[in-house]
Amino acid sequence: MAAPSRPPSKLRSTLDGVLVHDIKNISFRLRLLLSNLEDHWEDPEFRRTVRELLASTAERLETIVGRFAAHEGGVLIKVALDVNGLLRGVAERPARRGRAARSARRKLALGAVPRIWGDPFYLGDAFASLLENAFEAAGPEGTVLVRSHAGGTARRPRVLVEIVDNGAGMTPEFLRDRLFKPFETTKPGGVGLGLSTASQIVRFHRGTLRILSHPGGGTLVRLSFPAVAAEPA
C-alpha cells in the first residue's frame, strides 16, 4: 500500500533558509557572549545573563532540530489515509512547547469521507500548523471548528477539510501579499514558516488550500484533496 513519492525539494529549501536565518542569529548571540566573558565574568549579574542566554539558545536549537527531524529524508510515504483519524489525533494533541495554550473551545464535525493518498507524518504536521494558527487567532474566548466532508464528483471524489476560527481575521492586503511568504508573521517571536510549509505539503498531496478571512470576521481555511482512486499521486 505504501508508495514513495518525489522528494519535496522546495519544502527542504524553505526549511534550509529558515535554518540559516536561525543559526546566524544564534551564532551572533554566542559570539557576543564570548566577547563579553573575559571582561565581565566576575560580575554575578553578568553570569545570570549568561545562564539565561544559554538556556534560551539551547531551547531554540532544540526547536530547530525538532523541526528538521520531522522532515528527515525529504520523501513522502503516501498511504490510503483516514483523514478524520488524523484530524482527530492532531486536534487532541496539546499545544507544542513555546506556543500559546489551546484554550479556545474546539468542535469537531467530521463527516463520512473516502480515504486519500497521504503521508500521515507530513500531513499531520500541516494540519497541526493550521490548527495552531487557528487556536492562536481564536484566543481563550474563541472557538475553533474542524470539519470534514466529501466533495468533488462521482468520477473525481474529493475530501474537504475546513478549519474555522472566530478570531480577529486578516486584512485583504495581508492575505494577498504576506500570508504565504516564508518569514512573514505578525506573531511576536514567530518565524513565519507554518503556513508557507503547510501550503507546500498540501500541494505535494495534489491538494489545494484556500483561505477566507476578513478583519473582525474570523478565518476559514479550506483544504481539498483528491480521494483514493486508482493509484497514489
Binding site: F28, L30, R31, L32, D39, F183, G190
Partner: protein, 151 residues
C-alpha cells in the same frame, strides 16, 4: 536612565527584537555608552526622539517583522538629524537591502554574526565589525571623538 557619572558617556539607541542580544550588547558597551533599547520599531521610534551619539538597528523588526521597519527607522532618524550615525545589523545581508540602507544614509551595515566588536575591546583584534567600527571611530566629528575608545 542616566546618572551624573554618565555625562562623559555617549548615548546609543539599540533596536532589536532579541532581548538576549540587547543584553549582551549592553554589557559590551558598559562604561562607554548609556544604552537605550527597544524591541520593536514603534518603541524604537520613541527612543529616537532624544538625541543620541549612535543608533544600532536590526533590519527586520516587529510589529510587521519586515525589512522596511528597520529602513523606516533609519529614514526617520536621518530626517530628524541628517548627521546621525546609524549602523544597521542583519543576519541576512541581502544586497538590495544593504544598498538601500546605505543610500538612506546608514553609516555602515553589519552582517551579523560579527566577531569581537572593537568598541568593547582595548586590543586591536581584527573583525568584520571591527573594520566598520574603526572607520566609524576615525570618521571625525564631535560624535566620533566622544566615543572613540582610543581617545
Amino acid at each position: 536612565v542616566s546618572g551624573p557619572g554618565d555625562r562623559a558617556l555617549g548615548r546609543i539607541v539599540i533596536v532589536d527584537d532579541d532581548p538576549f542580544l540587547i543584553e549582551q550588547l549592553t554589557w559590551a558597551l558598559k562604561g562607554r555608552f548609556v544604552v537605550a533599547s527597544a524591541r520593536d520599531a514603534t518603541q524604537g521610534r520613541a527612543l529616537c526622539e532624544s538625541d543620541s551619539d549612535l543608533y544600532l538597528f536590526d533590519l527586520r523588526l516587529p510589529p510587521s517583522n519586515e525589512v522596511r521597519e528597520g529602513l523606516d527607522l533609519l529614514r526617520h532618524v536621518r530626517r530628524r538629524d541628517p548627521e546621525a550615525t546609524v549602523v544597521m545589523m542583519s543576519g541576512e545581508g541581502e544586497r538590495a537591502h544593504v544598498l538601500e540602507a546605505i543610500a538612506l544614509g546608514a553609516f555602515d551595515f553589519f552582517r551579523s554574526p560579527w566577531t569581537r566588536p572593537s568598541w568593547s575591546s582595548s586590543s586591536s583584534a581584527p573583525s568584520s565589525a571591527g573594520g566598520s567600527w574603526r572607520r566609524i571611530a576615525s570618521c571625525g566629528g564631535r560624535r566620533a571623538r566622544r566615543w572613540d575608545p582610543s581617545s
